[in-house]
Symmetry: C2
Subunit: 274 residues, 2 copies
């Protein structure tokens, strides 16, 4: 998907919501366990219920891998089921060299037809470049994540440049591809950090986890992070897909997605230049 | 597998060879493509041919993922087929937070019963700790890799400690678990670097890629990297598994593995205290 088309969808829907599809068999409504493919049965209803309110879906690949070969089939069916105008993110956090990265790219961009994949930057340029060879496909590079462990290495300051590690990741990777190919994962837990990173990457989209369960503030994220092309995909998973564990899970998911959608409508009006 | 048992195997076989199982359908002998599961057919013969000469097998998970659900079945059959005294490494380079890391751990340690998994450190302690809760299982943490891109971030020097990023990874992670649970990936391409890292982690095992095709020197690696418990698993993939593309691929693989085995026998005698 092109950046222009993604922005079109955001403007059309007045939403920059990404719904995480982290399907855990211990958390989905029990009545679905009777289905032949409970994971897909759950996803299908979540997608139907929330597609009007979001512009992206993000399955975390670990949840599917944990189920063995059957999990991959559920994942394939899920990606195929997502409407074509909605941006798809394989949250895989892959990172391996050269030909191996190329294999991951083929697995997620061709076999599964995702629009994007999250990638870990530790191994450097040759672990990222192979993903950039696919037209209309995106790398979403981990920059500053929202977990406690993000403090361990991402904030290390380079004695030569004075920049933090996550800033080095952004500065270096800007030379590897354009803002039509690369996005950054930027945690929502510190709004001032988002403002700082927006200065480093004025044109890039940020995938923002950590709103909701992890305590990030949607208004602060939107105020500090939005650029002229919106530039934000804000993810929410648990508050939406696990809003209810009963037979009403889909309608409750819709209700939660609609709440965020309404909030986003306001922020788009407030912070997005017309 | 415990560290003591791994060292036992090394002493018994006089080898610290790890054979990479990166199975590419474009590279395996053409006659295998007629088989129902060409990937497993290839692996089975490679395992039979090289098991006497190595102490570890390391499938790179990307190669299996690239094949879709069928690839996972080939992988599961392969891990199951590997003799129980041989250490198994899921070269997955995963790295995700908390419950997601836990899912990866279950997928690779329980569903697939690997002894170890390679993990990327970028997200910090909460992306690593969940793997350490499994008894007898190992995390092999990326420290200093052998690819060109390893220069991009791994060598950044922390202005506070004066340590490089890879050294920070080693120093921090030593507080997360013991040398009975954690190994490090240390590229073979610079022997002086291996000596430096051995000083930082005197007791840990290193998984060393980059010997052979990538130009690393086995003798230098062994001289600089070996500790009193051997402390080395040296990987070779292409020179062994793709030694021939004909019907003699297994016997040629054996021949190449035997060559490295003989070299390792000499280095164990030279550098390993009795």
């Amino acid at each position: 998907m092109t950046k222009a088309r993604l922005l079109d969808n955001i403007r059309k829907k007045n939403s920059y919501l990404c719904v995480g599809l982290d399907v855990d068999l211990n958390k989905i409504p029990r009545h679905l366990l009777k289905e032949k493919d409970p994971v897909f049965a759950f996803n299908r209803q979540i997608i139907d219920a929330t597609a009007d309110h979001c512009v992206a879906f993000k399955p975390n690949i670990a949840f599917y891998e944990a189920l063995g070969p059957g999990g991959w089939e559920s994942l394939a069916k899920t990606v195929e089921y997502i409407p074509g105008d909605i941006f798809t993110i394989a949250d895989a956090k892959r990172g391996d060299i050269g030909n191996t990265a190329g294999l991951y790219a083929r697995a997620f961009f061709e076999t599964l037809d995702f629009d994007s994949i999250t990638v870990a930057p530790y191994m450097g340029h040759d672990s990222v470049m192979p993903f950039l060879e696919f037209e209309g496909k995106w790398v979403i590079l981990l920059a500053h994540t929202s977990n406690a462990g993000s403090q361990d290495f991402q904030l290390i300051r380079n004695e030569d440049s004075g920049r933090t590690l996550f800033a080095e990741v952004i500065e270096k990777s800007k030379t590897w591809g354009s803002s039509e190919q690369i996005m950054y994962v930027v945690g929502a837990t510190q709004a001032d950090r988002i403002a700082e990173i927006r200065k480093m990457a004025p044109d890039h989209f940020f995938l923002v986890p950590g709103v909701g369960a992890q305590g990030g503030d949607l208004q602060a994220v939107s105020r500090e992070g939005m650029n002229a092309g919106c530039g934000l995909l804000v993810n929410n998973t648990r508050a939406i897909i696990y809003a209810s564990s009963g037979t009403d899970f889909a309608s409750m998911a819709k209700k939660e997605a609609f709440k965020m959608h309404q909030e986003m409508e306001r922020y788009l009006e407030q912070y997005l230049p017309a």
